[in-house]
Amino acid sequence: MPAREDGDPVERTRFRVAGTEARRADGVAKVTGAARFTVDLSVPGMAHAVMVRSTRAHARILGIEREAAERMPGVLAVLAGADLVAAGLHPYYGHVVLDHPALAVGSVRYHGEPVALVVAETKLQAAEAADLVEVRYEDLPAVIDADEALRPGAPILHHERGQRVGDEGMDQGEGALEGNVCAIARVQWGDVDAAFAKAHLVVEGEYRYPMLYGYAMEPYNALAFFDQGDLVVYSTAQHVYMVRRDLARMFDLPLARVRVSAPYVGGGYGTKSYTKIEGACAMAAHLTGRAVKLDLSVEEAMLTTRSDSSHIRCRSAFDRDGLLLAREFDIVLNSGAYTDNSPLVNSKTANRCFGPYRIPSLRVVSRSVFTNTVPASSLRGFGAPQGNIGGELQMDEAAEKLGIDPVELRLRNLAGPGEAILPGKRPLDADLREDLRCLVASLEWPGTGGVSVGFGVSASDAGAYPTSTAAVRIHADDSATLFTGSTELGQGSRTVLCQIVAEELGLSLERVAIVGGDTGVVPYERTTGASRTTTVTGRAVQEACRDARRRVRELAAQNEKVDVAAVEDAPAGVRVKDRERSYGEVIEGWFGAGGEVLGHGSVRRGEGFAQMPPFWEIGCSGVRLSVDRETGVARVEKLVTVGDVGFAINPALVHGQDLGAATMGMGAALREELVYEGEQLVNPNVVDYRVPRFSDQPPEIDLMLAERHDGAGPFGAKGAGEGAGNTIGSSVAAAIGRAIGVFPHELPATPERVWRLLRERDERARR
């Protein structure tokens, strides 16, 4: 796979460890199977829990017959939502709205919702007993489709809304949340109607992005117990501190008495953001007095969280030269039964749908809507792919109608570096025009023979809320340990964060260790998501290193009885009185024997991150593909991504992120979709829900890097991980459109959908 380093070679040699393809800190452990995941953990006396799930999409719970299950061997308890309430626990969780019960209370809102939990000595005993739990329901009318859920008279999921608990980073947007509306986001400026009235060309259409399951190798699981009244939970959580807050609320415990730890996590992609099953597991531990493990199957994970699907109605106005005059989007997201993270996904969809263009007038309304389906939450890209399919495809459709090359059309409209694409927000910290030129050169636009080309751009307000802290201990033997609340999900964060420490402290990587993802041990980290770890956590790590160095200078000054101003940093220690002293010499000199230095670093919405977002995550990728016109099968022949990451602290990891994001994008573009028939999912397993395989990878892949040191992160870095996938849906649709003469507006572009488009086009041609 060809990898090009487009960065300035002089810039790159400024660093020793940053910018190198350092081996993964967790590589050998994972390849040999030695790495320990939550699912591998057990503690003495651990009991096991199995969920009983709803067989109705919307119903009142009339009663739960549990005697037969309780009589089964090994059974410790059969718990239902009502028991949690009776025990004085707060069964609802949610980081935006407290409306998601750990176990259904009073009614169920989707097929597959947890209704009861059976706890037994072994998992098999729990499962066998769970088969005997009978739930009596009174059916209520259900609504599966989001547009239908908005109609007057539609069944209402939440007559009473849960308490809003979101902070500044998390709200439900403006407007009245009536009926089934979970959140509303609006973005608006200029005189949209006037602009459309005077437009030379208006492109209008409806677009759909599918409901997805973000397949990860490790399904959700948790292990919970109480230790002298403190709650300890090991889980597959991406955001351990967010889960800690939910659990503290559910148990009325101070934050200090809840400890959430995520050892290695087997893939997250946003699907493990926020609380999932931790509440139910911890409540079982509380009510049985035992350590309890709850370990879901993939099929159950598919009933736990999925992504929001989108239905976009939009139009774009252009002048004769192809300059955008106005855009208007009306977006409906199908967000499932509970709020979870959909308000944020919704606001990001609204912010990201119109693209990084100069748009004189804009009106976007995006609504997140409750339906009786699996609750939706974050998934890689987080609203960006859901909106990009409309925004970018209309650029391609307009180019065709205007007779302007679609690259040229974009170049004319793209915002340049330093230009604002959202008023009041951080100006664009990327050069999208250059990125696009690199992209289309590698794609060999405009394509030849049987191969067509599609591409797209996007800019995502990434990084989430920039609250991050880190601690670094320098030991007396010149080694260091980093403490971070960021979770290693497979993305390589441990490696890259260690590289930052090694670079800052002048140590070799072998002398840097990391402890991560345990709220009982490591300092606060808001989230591991929004492509933020390298940029935002990385800055906190840098600050911690600098703080540790400052401490070492102070100790050296006291050792040498000089003013601290007389002590300078040396590559791996200090220089004082014209002599270099290692950290260890300074530390031992000060303590007399042993000792260490502790540095703390924090970043907040201030200083370099005062302006939101912390950075713009760029999407700039595309495909070459061919279409079998008889079957409708589209085959990607080449994938190209441009990772506009400012500076790749570890290029191999960036390539991995870009390829991973693009691969998930290709899954959604061509194959993946959760399908409801009636009130049930018909493909809630990974045999019928087809995730990409290695054999699906295109024969040619070009992963490029654009390194302009224009990010707010360490050494000018910006985040990666989502951008490369955000434009794949629209790229695939555009390439198919160019191949067959009709642009698909609905993803995935399955063979049958493409075949139907071809047939309709042929029929139109015959008439």
Binding site: V50, K123, L124, A127, E128, D131, S297, E299, E630, T631, V633, R671, V675, V682, N683, N685, V687, D688, R690, R693, T750, P751, E752, W755, R756
Partner: protein, 282 residues
């Protein structure tokens, strides 16, 4: 997740038959387990007893006689795709086997299990029917041999008796001037259309009508009426048209996640043509 069950490791066909008689509907025959255990894990099926036939030595052999290839019931897809005699005598079957599922399923899954499960979305049945394959079943009253076409009676339904074990699949060795080809269309884990063609070819023409069978798309493998093609030239465009039309008419496609009835019927025509092209190419 799986529930409690007991595995009985039979070491002879007689023992397996006795176990079937003893446990009746509470037991299932267990070969590779790729279908059985998946169904049990998903809770679609639950059996208290599994009769494991893998220890039965006589079922693990492939025997090539002058006019038949006899494939024992525990021979896996993986065994078949690389078996020297199978690749020599039935190269189309070996190629088909190599395209089944993924390597994990092929390594454990058996041909007999594929047939006994009678899941319509399968590759081997179409080609085996076109080749005139028979299945051998043994029960309390002894052994019987019946054409595969009669063995599979519907979706997940076969003529296997409650006391019987499938012991082998017998495939006639094709005549020296016969050719065979199998092509399929697949978007999900299993095929959604498969077309097999077996024909004696004389120069560039069919000597007699070709045997064409469409699999995976309907509840059962369907034979295509090819009487009119006897003696026709393989390269004649009208032959391809006629074959495609006849194949489309032979099936009642079942709509599912892989496509609608209409789309699948269209694909049957496309793949009938492609089967012909593959046959002509040798």
């Amino acid at each position: 997740m799986l529930r409690r069950f007991e595995v009985h490791r039979a070491t002879s066909v007689e023992e397996a038959v006795d176990l079937r008689v003893r446990y009746g509907d509470d037991a299932a025959v267990y070969a590779g387990g790729t279908e059985l255990l998946l169904a049990m894990k998903l809770g679609i099926a639950r059996w208290a007893h599994l009769i494991d036939v893998k220890p039965i030595r006589e079922l693990s052999r492939v025997a090539v006689a002058r006019d038949t290839v006899r494939i024992g019931a525990t021979v896996t897809h993986w065994d078949l795709e690389r078996h020297p005699d199978v690749t020599r005598v039935l190269p189309a079957l070996a190629r088909l086997e190599a395209s089944v599922a993924n390597v994990r399923v092929r390594a454990a899954g058996t041909l007999a299990g594929n047939i006994a499960f009678a899941e319509p979305h399968a590759d081997p049945p179409a080609l085996l029917v076109a080749l005139g394959a028979r299945v051998v079943a043994r029960g309390r009253r002894g052994e019987r041999t019946l054409p595969l076409e009669e063995f599979v009676t519907g979706m997940y339904q076969t003529a296997l008796g409650g006391d019987e074990i499938l012991t082998a699949v017998e495939v006639p060795v094709p005549a020296p001037d016969a050719r065979a080809a199998y092509v399929k269309f697949q978007v999900l884990e299993r095929p959604s259309v498969g077309v097999a063609i077996v024909a004696k070819v004389n120069g560039a023409s069919f000597a007699g009508p070709p045997a064409v069978v469409v699999g995976a798309v309907d509840e059962l493998p369907r034979r295509v009426d090819t009487a009119a093609l006897a003696g026709a030239s393989l390269a004649d465009a009208r032959v391809a048209d006629a074959l495609a039309a006849s194949a489309r008419a032979a099936v009642s496609p079942v709509a599912d996640l892989a496509g609608s009835e209409e789309y699948k019927r269209h694909l049957v025509g496309v793949f009938a043509r492609r089967a012909l092209t593959a046959l002509a190419a040798g």
